[in-house]
């Protein structure tokens, strides 16, 4: 994986996603710039990252869960 691909992957691993005006969640622009292998690698890294986040968070919540809960309030 090239250094450029690693930067793209790191952006995709984030749980932050933009939304459309009607509230739909948009795919990350960096995801579209990765090839299939990069997307699969991003998925695997996300699985590990969320496990780390759950372990490090006092409430056991990953950034994905926090993003979802923020939408409920």
């Amino acid at each position: 994986m090239t250094p450029e691909d690693l930067l793209l992957l790191e952006q995709v691993v984030s749980a932050r996603r933009e939304r459309t005006a009607d509230g739909a969640i948009k795919s990350h622009p960096a995801w579209h710039d990765l090839d299939d292998a990069g997307r699969a690698a991003a998925f695997d890294e996300t699985v590990r990252q969320r496990a780390l986040e759950r372990a490090l968070d006092a409430a056991g919540q990953s950034s994905t869960i926090k993003a979802v809960l923020a939408r409920l309030r």
Partner: protein, 189 residues
């Protein structure tokens, strides 16, 4: 089973904290079912959208008497969302048969169980992180802002911030390995 019914009652009544506990307990299992979609659509979008839909449907959800009913519903919901996402990125050719085979090969899903030993080990490794990776990872963990804002908050360029997050994750994985913990094995279904 009674615990699951109690939890579902709270969620159905609009208890967001209960929903958060449930969602945290099933996140790893649910995400794992999306592996066949990983190269085809942004599965983070699928995860968040599916969980939001589960929350919206929960007040009308009827338990079928079998274990993990809400999780099984979430898996179906996530697949439906994933197929919708696939249609949005239809420029990418998709081998529908291969995808279907991969989905059919998946077994029953169950919530994960938190491992207190793993939690302690990860916490210890985090304390050993070098300063710059620790700052970058801390920003990612503590704030839901976009990466540009997070990088600015720790006075790094975007690329340096992203590189430091990568370094932090690798450092943690190596530290865990030295402690005899293989994160991939721990996360294996």
């Amino acid at each position: 089973m009674q615990g699951e019914l109690d939890q579902l009652a709270l969620i159905s009544a609009g208890d967001a904290a209960a929903f958060g506990r449930w969602a945290s307990s099933v996140e790893s299992s649910l995400r794992g079912t999306l592996r066949p979609f990983a190269a085809r659509c942004d599965t983070e979008v699928v995860m968040q959208e599916a969980l939001l839909r589960v929350w919206q449907v929960a007040p009308r959800f009827v338990h079928d008497g079998r274990p993990n009913a809400l999780l099984r519903f979430a898996v179906i919901t996530a697949r439906n969302v994933a197929f919708t996402e696939l249609r949005k990125v239809a420029a990418t050719p998709t081998d529908g048969d291969a995808l279907q085979r991969a989905l059919e090969a998946q077994g029953e899903v169950a919530p994960g169980t938190p491992d207190p030993h793993l939690r302690t080990a990860i916490g210890r490794c985090r304390e050993k992180l070098p300063k710059q990776p620790a700052m970058a990872l801390g920003a990612r963990l503590d704030t839901p802002d976009d990466d540009h804002a997070l990088a600015a908050s720790v006075r790094m360029s975007l690329n340096t911030f992203l590189q430091n997050v990568t370094r932090a994750r690798r450092f943690l994985a190596d530290c865990l390995k030295k402690a005899g913990i293989d994160l991939d094995l721990e996360l294996a279904p």
